[in-house]
Structures are given as structure tokens and as C-alpha cells.
């Protein structure tokens, strides 16, 4: 499809309804940060660990996606977990075991896993 300028807004709105939890059907969005550095420190395993958690629990309102990195190479692999109407939580130094626990406690149970969490909130964009 070749776009016209006015199509940009339409795509933007449609897309926000998928990625923006407030407008969409997902309850939780999990973003695994996959830059070269994240992948080198095992982000692919983290991604598949989240995916198998979704499968095991049989949930359908959890959106798993990937993105570029957050820049803090020394704490990779990293993932951001964002529940509807809550600020996102960034988890660092992840392992498969930590993923399981985060999924159980936070995604299913709503309790932040403090030991693994770096911080809540988003980065400052100008």
C-alpha cells in the first residue's frame, strides 16, 4: 500500500490500540531488549523463556515484544514489564529462573519482584 500523508495518522491510531495497553486488549506488555549487546548476554533465551511461560500458563492477554536496548550494557539482559495503568518496571541481569519468578509473581500475581527490579518508570525523552 502506498501511503498518503493522511494515512500516517490512521496507522498511528491503529497501532496505538495494539501497543498502548489502555486502548488495547492486552493486560500486560513485556518488552525484551534485543540489541547486539543484549543478545550477546543471552536475550534470546530470555525471550523464549517468557514465551514458554505464556504457553505454560495459557494466558492470552500478555503481549510479548522486542525492542532495542536501554543502553545499560553492564546489566543486560534486560526486560520491561508494563501492566495496564501501571508504570513499567525494568528488570535487569535476567536469567531463565528469574523470568519464571517474574512471570509468576508480577504477571500472574501483580507483585513486583523487588530483588530483580532496577526501577519503575520510563526514560526521559525530550
Amino acid at each position: 500500500m502506498k501511503l498518503k500523508p493522511s494515512d500516517l495518522d490512521k496507522i498511528a491510531q491503529k497501532m496505538r490500540s495494539v501497543t498502548n495497553l489502555r486502548k488495547g486488549t492486552s493486560r500486560i506488555k513485556i518488552t525484551v531488549h534485543m540489541g547486539t549487546c543484549g543478545i550477546a548476554s543471552g536475550a534470546r533465551d530470555i525471550l523464549s523463556a517468557f514465551l514458554s511461560c505464556v504457553e505454560e500458563e495459557g494466558v492470552s492477554d500478555v503481549l510479548i515484544t522486542t525492542s532495542g536496548c536501554a543502553g545499560l550494557c553492564s546489566r543486560e539482559p534486560m526486560a520491561t514489564v508494563e501492566a495496564r495503568d501501571k508504570p513499567p518496571v525494568k528488570y535487569v541481569d535476567l536469567t531463565k529462573e528469574k523470568v519464571k519468578r517474574i512471570f509468576k509473581d508480577y504477571v500472574m500475581g501483580g507483585k513486583i519482584v523487588e530483588e530483580y527490579a532496577l526501577a519503575i518508570g520510563s526514560e526521559r525523552v525530550l
Binding site: L8, K14, T36, C73, S122, R124, L126
Partner: protein
């Protein structure tokens, strides 16, 4: 205080502003209550954010429809609306706010404003964050000259090395004679320890494409190249994917966005050498020739690819462009210092607790980068210096830690902004060895075309190696300085012109270290192995035998409970004995 960060703006905070202002007027409150636009609060996910001062009431997820009610209840009747207020997830939660953590607190994202937020392989997610909106704006409402004026007014300067004003470069190329013009994105990034451009391409490839499209329109180019380092497979994959998707949407190719603007883009993989990042060498490599630099002038803007006017910019430079068009030159020029506007992405590596990729406003101090962002030096050692600008740059010593980082101040301190590589060194770093390391890199990468660079750097390297081996002579420092000057003046390209910089700047700030190596045959940081000697002090050694067991080279003799000794010929200077001796009996000099 209404948030006007990218996140909130794309959640319509500017419409909220209009609604607020008109409601306030309605009640004649516009003089009493001021609407101030702020930068991002770090809670973009809950935006748009409105903070009412002096009470500090924090409203979130505002909609235009909420505003009349909010103004009436809160501002007129003094009753804050709880429903719209932000409720901290758990007051006692020990997890800090991201924007309160040092590493993130000092960062301000312009170029990387989509990092971690969008799927870089999905163009729709880019569009959802105002992507290609600037391109649409430019194509439908601005003349090419107006675009150039806007970029000039923003004060944007090249992020690839020399810091040439971008708008001016575009203007020269637009004005150059020729029916065909080209633009190039330099994603070669050969500076060791640097990965800014890789990260920009990996996390937001469409920003680079959109910047190039805008540049092509402004300059009048119909074709462009992205020259990307071959060692970046993920970045390569993502940029190719981005080009494919943009093509499907008609954002590349003919009649872009239904206008009469055409632009085609191809990706070329770098030939792998550091010198290929130099613009004339890069162009020669694109033409299929041997990637050797040539003398300038003529500059590529007048005679570049196939002899046609060619504008070349760095990845980060291009990625700034859509943001400037979207938010306006004035907004961009409001960030940074007098001569250096906007932000800069640095890859910070070395002896720091936090390493990684950061975007900070120009004018930030090295202290803020090392201590606030970097979280201070590893093992609580002392900060000694930072190498800025990689092998073409120089070091900034601890005494200049409060230097504001911008193009001019770095240059006058003997370093350069470069592309943004920043290597932090602690007290255990030997500055002579650092200079030797960088020079050996450039000498290795010299293309060999011109003698000052080919022979001169080799000679300098020999002298430096001699110094680190304890063979330095009194006159060496002077010879190094003289040769450096000569090479800087006579080498053909930037590689040779800048190769002596690390040597000059370490001599400038750490002359005493050079002298210690040369005169006293001593390496103060105890790095240069040839200059250290381990000894056991007989009056301190109690014969515990631990060093004997730990020496990897059987260089220690002595029975248990007897005084031990080191056989110098066998010692490989690993320092193990020094580390394990609990009685302070091992010394080195």
C-alpha cells in the same frame, strides 16, 4: 507544568495545552495560572502528565475531555480531582523511579527517544510515535530552502567527527552545480570501543531513513547510500528490513507520499578498515575502487560519488533531523551550549560501574558522566583520565573533570568530540601505554598512501614502545612532539592528521609519567612489565610459603618458615606473590 516530552506529545499533550489555555481564559484565570511546558517526567507510559505547582499534584493519563472539569474543580473551586491523580503503585516499594537512578537521570533522549519503546522491525510502531510525520510536513508544506534554514537555525553539527554545521553542508551541496546529487549515511563506525551508531540503527532504523529522506529533499538528491560496517549483522538486518517496509508504504521510491519527490536508497557493506569511515575513502569504496583517501578540496559536497555533488552525514546526525523538523529548530537550539546544540550519544566503557550507551545534553560535565551516570570508578579506585574521540582524540585528565563537554571546549583541551567514544581510565592505567596502544591502532590502519602517516607513525610507535621497555632517551619527548607536528600538517587525510593526538595529549597532561619511564626507568602505574621488578623484603617475610605455592612460574625459592626469594630471570611479573602475601613482604618498583 504540562509535559511536552515526545511520549506525552504523542499522547496529545499539546491538545491538552490548547484546551487548558482556553478553559483558563474562560474563567479569566490566565494571569493567575500559568501553563508551562516541561520536558519528560519519565512516566511517559502514564502520559500526558500534568503537575500542578506549588502543591505538586500529579495528574496522569489526561484526555482533552477531562480538562473543563479539571479546570473548574481544581483551579476554580480548589478541589483536586482524585480520579485523575497518579497513585504510586506501592508507597513503600523500595524500587526506585527510573528517572531517579543516576544512569538514567542525567540522560535526555532525542536521537534515542524511541529506544526500548518500539519494535524496530515494525514500521507501524515507528509511525505511532510520530514517525514520518516530519517527512510529510516537509514534503507538503516546506520548500527545500526552508528545510535547510530550519536545520541551520537548529545549530545541528555533524556527529561523525569534525562537527561541521549540517545545514551549511546541505546548503553547499544544494547550491553545487550538477543534475544528479547523492547523499550518504556513514555507518562505518570503526573507532574501537564505540557503538553509538550501531545502537541507533538497531533501535530506531526508520529515524535514520526519515532523516535521509528529508535531507535528500532539501538537497535535491534522488539517490542515497547507507555504508554500514560489515561487523554489524543485526544493524544491517534491521536497516534492510526498514528499507523494505518503507518501500512497501511508498516512503521510498517514486512519488513519495503522493508527491513528486523520488528517492532510492541502497545499502553497502563496509570494507572493514578504519580508514573507510573517512569520507573520501568511503566514497571511493562505494565507487568500487580501492578505499584510499584523496586530498581535499574538492570536498564531496562539490565533487563526491562519481564526481557528482554528494552530501555525507553520520548516522546520529541523520537521526536528529526528523526530531528537529517535528519539534522545531528553536526547541533543539534550546538544548545544549552556546556553540553546541542538542544532545550527544556516547558509548561509555572502561573502568566504570555502569557502562553502556548514553545520550546526554551538550554541556554536561565529565564529572556527571563518570560519577552520576557511570556510577563512579570500579573498585572505588581514583579517576585518572578519559579518552575522548578514540584514536583520533585525546585524553581529558582528572583535573579537567568539570569541563563542560562541547565541541570547542574539548578541542581546546586537546581531545575531540569525535563520534562519541568515551573510555574511562583509573589510577592503574599507564598513560604512555595508552598512547602506544592508540598509535599502534592507527599505524596498523594507515592505508600507506602518504609517507608522513605511513613512516612517521611507525617511527613514533617505535619510540613509544622503547619508552615502555625502559629504553627511552632524554630527547624522545621532543622528537615525538616534533614528528607529531609534522605528521599533523602533512598527512593527506584525517587518519594521519589526527593519529598523533593521543600522544600529544598524554604528553601535555602526563609529562611526568613519560619522564618517570625515561629517566627513572619506572612505570608509576606499574603497567609496563619491563619496568617493574618484584622483590621480597627479608625482614618482613616470615616464610609462610604462600607465594611459593602461588607463583605460576616457579620463580620463588625458599623452604617453609625460611625467608623466600624471587629469581628475577624466571619471574614473569604477574603480581600474584604481591597479591597473596599477607605480611606486606613483597614489594615492587
Amino acid at each position: 507544568m504540562l509535559c511536552a516530552g515526545t511520549g506525552c506529545v504523542s499522547n496529545r499533550s499539546l491538545e491538552i495545552q490548547t484546551a487548558l489555555e482556553s478553559e483558563l481564559k474562560k474563567y479569566d484565570l490566565q494571569d493567575e495560572i500559568q501553563v508551562v511546558l516541561t520536558g519528560c517526567n519519565g512516566f511517559c507510559s502514564n502520559g500526558p502528565i500534568l503537575v500542578v505547582q506549588p502543591d505538586g499534584i500529579f495528574y496522569q493519563m489526561l484526555k482533552v475531555e477531562d480538562i473543563p472539569h479539571l479546570v473548574e474543580e481544581h483551579f476554580l473551586k480548589g478541589r483536586p480531582i482524585e480520579k485523575l491523580m497518579y497513585i504510586p503503585p506501592d508507597k513503600k516499594s523500595p524500587v526506585p523511579k527510573l528517572s531517579d537512578i543516576g544512569f538514567f537521570k542525567k540522560q535526555q533522549l532525542v536521537v534515542l527517544s524511541n529506544r526500548g519503546l518500539i519494535d524496530p522491525e515494525n514500521i507501524d510502531e515507528y509511525i505511532a510515535r510520530d514517525g514520518y510525520k516530519s517527512l510529510a510536513k516537509v514534503l507538503t508544506s516546506m520548500k527545500p530552502e526552508e528545510v535547510i534554514e530550519e536545520i541551520k537555525a537548529s545549530g545541528l553539527r555533524g556527529r561523525g567527527g569534525a562537527g561541521f554545521p549540517t545545514g551549511k553542508k546541505w546548503e553547499i551541496c544544494r547550491g553545487a552545480e550538477g543534475d544528479e546529487k547523492y547523499i550518504i549515511c556513514n555507518a562505518d563506525e570503526g573507532d574501537p570501543g564505540a557503538f553509538m551508531d550501531r545502537s541507533v540503527v538497531e533501535s530506531d532504523p526508520h529515524a535514520v531513513l526519515e532523516g535521509m529522506l528529508i535531507g535528500a529533499y532539501a538537497i535535491g538528491a534522488e539517490n542515497g547510500f547507507i555504508y554500514i560496517r560489515d561487523e554489524y549483522p543485526l544493524a544491517l538486518k534491521r536497516i534492510k528490513r526498514a528499507i523494505e517496509q518503507a518501500g512497501e508504504y511508498g516512503l521510498l521510491g517514486e512519488a513519495i507520499l503522493g508527491t513528486d519527490f523520488n528517492f532510492g536508497l541502497s545499502v553497502n557493506r563496509g570494507a572493514g578498515a578504519f580508514v573507510c569511515g573517512e569520507e573520501t575513502s568511503l566514497i571511493s569504496s562505494l565507487e568500487g575502487n580501492n578505499p584510499a583517501p584523496r586530498t581535499k578540496p574538492p570536498f564531496p559536497a562539490l565533487s563526491g560519488y562519481m564526481g557528482k555533488p554528494t552530501n555525507i552525514n553520520n548516522v546520529e546526525t541523520w537521526a536528529n533531523v526528523p526530531r528537529i523538523i517535528n519539534r522545531g529548530a528553536g526547541w533543539f537550539a534550546g538544548i545544549g551550549t552556546e556553540s553546541s546544540k542538542g544532545t550527544k550519544v556516547f558509548s561509555i566503557v572502561g573502568k566504570l560501574k555502569n557502562t553502556g550507551l548514553v545520550e546526554v545534553p551538550m554541556g554536561i560535565t565529565l564529572r556527571e558522566i563518570v560519577y552520576d551516570i557511570g556510577g563512579s570508578i570500579l573498585d572505588d579506585k581514583k579517576f585518572k583520565a578519559a579518552q575522548m574521540g578514540g584514536p583520533s582524540g585525546g585524553c581529558i585528565p582528572a583535573s579537567l573533570i568539570d569541563l563542560p563537554i562541547d565541541y570547542e571546549s574539548l578541542t581546546s583541551a586537546g581531545a575531540i568530540m569525535g563520534s562519541g567514544g568515551l573510555i574511562v581510565m583509573d589510577e592503574d592505567t599507564c598513560m604512555v601505554e595508552i598512547a602506544r596502544y592508540f598509535l599502534s591502532f592507527t599505524q596498523d590502519e594507515s592505508c600507506g598512501k602518504c609517507p608522513p602517516c605511513r613512516e612517521g607513525t611507525k617511527h613514533m610507535l617505535d619510540i613509544l614502545t622503547g619508552i615502555t621497555k625502559g629504553e627511552g632517551k632524554e630527547e624522545d619527548i621532543e622528537i615525538l612532539e616534533g614528528m607529531a607536528k609534522l605528521i599533523k600538517q602533512t598527512a593527506i587525510c584525517g587518519l594521519g592528521n589526527t593519529a598523533p593526538n593521543p600522544v600529544l595529549s598524554t604528553i601535555r597532561y602526563f609529562r611526568d609519567e613519560y619522564e618517570a619511564h625515561i629517566k627513572d626507568k619506572r612505570c608509576p602505574a606499574r603497567v609496563c612489565k619491563a619496568l617493574i621488578k618484584f622483590n621480597i623484603l627479608p625482614d618482613k617475610c616470615n616464610g609462610c610459603h604462600i607465594c611459593f605455592k602461588n607463583c605460576p612460574s616457579d620463580a620463588i625459592t625458599g623452604e617453609a618458615k625460611q625467608i623466600h626469594e624471587i629469581i628475577q630471570d624466571k619471574c614473569i611479573k604477574c603480581g600474584m606473590c604481591f597479591d597473596v602475601c599477607k605480611f606486606d613482604a613483597v614489594r615492587y618498583e
